[in-house]
Symmetry: C2
Subunit: 84 residues, 2 copies
């Protein structure tokens, strides 16, 4: 249940984005596996997100800063080049 993905980075919303910095401090950094728990009705806030053994409740505005790639979309350079 839920969606597995890899964190690519956290985007700043303007300059000195304290929320983005806080997310990075919490462990939302490139390469970290993340699980997005199944959610309630559309627009449910906060979202339940897990990195390692730690679960975070993210507001939607926070979750929108975290760039990810779904595991199902992960490939390798060799495969991508072959499909070119």
């Amino acid at each position: 249940m839920g969606t597995s993905a890899v964190v690519l980075g956290v985007d700043d919303n303007g300059t000195d984005d304290a929320i983005a910095q806080r997310l990075r401090d919490l462990g939302f950094v490139a390469g970290e596996p993340v699980r997005i728990a199944a959610h309630g009705p559309l627009g449910a806030d906060p979202l339940l997100v897990q990195i390692g053994y730690t679960r975070f409740a993210l507001r939607r505005a926070e979750a929108a800063r975290v760039r990810i790639a779904l595991n199902e979309a992960v490939t390798t350079i060799a495969t991508a080049a072959a499909q070119g």
Copy 2:
């Protein structure tokens, strides 16, 4: 021309994989944008890959170690959660 992607990591092939370590030393680390140049006939070797302003010619066995996500597959936690 070519494919834009983000590096997720380099997988070791067994223990003490010197090639994998070398790729990480060269800059193939999580979060780095990478471009995979258009390639020749299927199976062409080496592949031309660019990180920042530096171009690398990777053998296919090296390119197979580098996990990536295509830019077109990049999303955010908020969007992924909304799509369930």
